[in-house]
Homo-oligomer: 121 residues x 2
Amino acid sequence: DYSEKVMDHFANPRNSRKMEDANGVGTVGNPTCGDLMTIYIKVEDNIIKDISFQTFGCGAAIATSSMITEIAVGKTLEEALKISRNDVAEELDGLPPVKMHCSNLAADGLQAAIENYYENN
Amino acid sequence: DYSEKVMDHFANPRNSRKMEDANGVGTVGNPTCGDLMTIYIKVEDNIIKDISFQTFGCGAAIATSSMITEIAVGKTLEEALKISRNDVAEELDGLPPVKMHCSNLAADGLQAAIENYYENN
Ligand code: FES
């Protein structure tokens, strides 16, 4: 079963939108289920000023992405690179073991977006 | 990539709700990704008068469930039992091969709900 926090972020995802003026974009795929995740970041002075996501993934993928946007905003790129899927799962008060693979999408997507920002700048 | 019909049923799912007065309920799990689907039916005179679903599954699972509710409503139980995942995918103008496993949830859930109705009545 899912925690109340997971259900809240699933039902009311934060920052689930395309970002037209992002300066870092990362898209990653999930080999287990075939889902895709895109994370958009807007970086200023080495700080993540804005972050959003788009996915066709399941409830766990939506909830972990929503949560990672709240964790990452305001952080430096170095701090944001250290956010792991376990950090996200902990902030959500846990995820069923069978759904931990879904939380890879959010953490990997954020790393890909930061790498894309470094490549562009 | 997803067809326009898939994106429409994902963004505006039909009949995505719990049904308190269902007389058939089926819950099935997806071994590939760990997602769950519950289908509710209300049967009168051997006809599916109302049908709804709840899932934590991905966009493809939401779209196929939404579509199967539109296909199944008004059908006899014998007709509804014949609805396959391929029928649903065809009505949606196709699904990417990697996401066909997601459409099992809708078709299997409907069969489980009909079997549950037969057991109860
Ligand atoms: S990935 Fe689980 S239902 Fe689609």
